[in-house]
Subunit: 296 residues, 2 copies
């Protein structure tokens, strides 16, 4: 089955014709910063060009959220100016005369890894992005676990240390506030007394700097605890680790060691790195269209 996937990001829009997880052709444009009509027209323009001379039967869009799934709306996109309460599904369907399906970007990306990437062949998986923030998605068979309010998979907001540092949502001690890239940079800047980015801290730790190692030990142990908690709640067959930090093998090994420490005496799922790289967004959006249109 051939579908069109659109990955709507804060800086770029990527779109591709995808068949069984393989990209047949693709396009990429900067995201207009001038409001919804321009963003919509950019998506429609790319879609019309890509769709010509294909047998694509549905369109999937991966979008930042929060979303209203019932209404097919983006309620609010923090990184894209002017995207508030927009009828994405309705307006795209009208112009493209194909079924259109909306999914949040982390769920879409994780679904791509679940079906066609690192978790293919597993009955269930949890996708965990360890990046500036921490997010993810949960998958059983062909189902994306969205939850009753679309919140399922917002795993970075689990509280792992009550009384710990306050995160972006104002709550103390979340996984993200303890272990995301932005929290590592925060701790590094505090320790070294100057603004320091995550990449420099990683480099210092690789070079054997004791304090940098300690900051990373802390963060990776907390991420290990986060994964172990997901086993006790959802028990996926495999964890797929994506996001910038997870591309570092030593970092992944430390996270996995932390998880194993907290799973001593418990079943231990496989842990694998994400496979689909920068194409994960469009493949995911196309996969959502593929599965949703066949179930509709």
């Amino acid at each position: 089955m051939t579908t069109l996937g659109i990955d709507l990001g804060g800086t770029k829009i990527a779109a591709a014709i995808v068949s069984e997880g393989r990209i047949l052709k693709q396009d990429r444009r900067p995201t207009p910063q001038t409001g919804w009509p321009d963003v919509r027209d950019a998506m429609v323009g790319m879609a019309e060009e890509l769709l010509s001379n294909t047998d694509a039967t549905a369109v999937g869009v991966g979008s930042p959220g929060p979303l209203d799934f019932d209404e097919g709306k983006i309620l609010f996109a923090p990184n894209i100016p002017g995207l508030e309460n927009v009828q994405l599904v309705h307006e795209l369907k009208e112009r493209l005369t194909l079924p259109v399906f909306l999914e949040n970007d982390a769920n879409a990306a994780g679904f791509a890894e679940h079906r066609y990437g690192a978790a293919r062949g597993y009955a269930s998986s949890a996708y965990v992005t360890l990046s500036t923030g921490i997010g993810g998605g949960l998958f059983i068979g062909n189902t994306i676990v969205r939850g009753a309010h679309g919140v399922a998979g917002e795993i970075g907001h689990m509280t792992l240390l009550p009384g710990g540092p306050v995160g972006g949502d104002g709550h103390d001690g979340s996984w993200e506030a303890l272990a995301a890239g932005r929290s590592i940079a925060r701790d590094a800047s505090y320790v070294y007394g100057r603004s320091m980015q995550t990449a420099e801290l990683f480099q210092l730790a690789h070079d054997g700097d004791r304090k940098a190692e300690r900051i990373l030990d802390n963060a990776t142990l907390m991420s290990g605890i986060g994964l172990a908690n997901l086993v006790k709640v959802f028990d996926p067959a495999v964890f797929v680790l994506g996001g910038g930090m997870a591309s570092d093998e030593q970092y992944r090994a430390k996270v996995e060691a932390g998880m194993r420490r907290y799973l001593d005496g418990w079943p231990v799922p496989d842990v694998v790195p994400a496979e689909l790289g920068s194409d994960v967004g469009v493949i995911g959006a196309a996969s959502v269209a593929e599965v949703e249109s066949s179930q509709a």
Copy 2:
């Protein structure tokens, strides 16, 4: 559809003929403490008596675990002497000549509340037992979320405070080690310098004893954090709170207040007390048989 449910417990075996969540007739016997053949024969005897002159088409058994679902085996039942590696499904099927389905007892109980109890009408639910220990089950539609290794729903073992008190599985800072009845009794005994049970501590707190209130405040806040974490992972439409402690309305109110504190800015699911009382085990086991046999 009519099925037979058997609830295999450490002190008693309950069995009932159940139709659409209603008990038509039932029986209850002490659990033989003399090994598997006697336990099996007790179950078979009760089943044969109850099944006569009914149109029951399947049997469900709720059992303590761990279980091997593929093989239909109880691997080990900590509270029943001699139950190790027993072929429960195979041996019951042979004697009763009906399809037999095995489920862990917490999942079965939660499934009863999901289908016929406090969560009926909700698309998804999480069942949380707040008792001597803390356990639960997760449900979407007609599906019990078992996980890849049967561990899903072992929510009491989530780590909520790394470095906190060590729990029964040897890990520090689990929800259960921070907030279960046994951990409240542990903290009360420490504070008052003598052996104290949970019920006495609850009474002291109701009478306004400051230290007792503080112990309960702590435990209920941790349970609130546990529920809030489940929203960020699984996002159920409703929480059903069961178990001894949850029958206390003030206790439930404190747990819910803790949850709301950690869900400020997030969607808040309904929180309701369990409804089915002591019949929950047999109704759950019967419900498992109902759903599994119609899907088989």
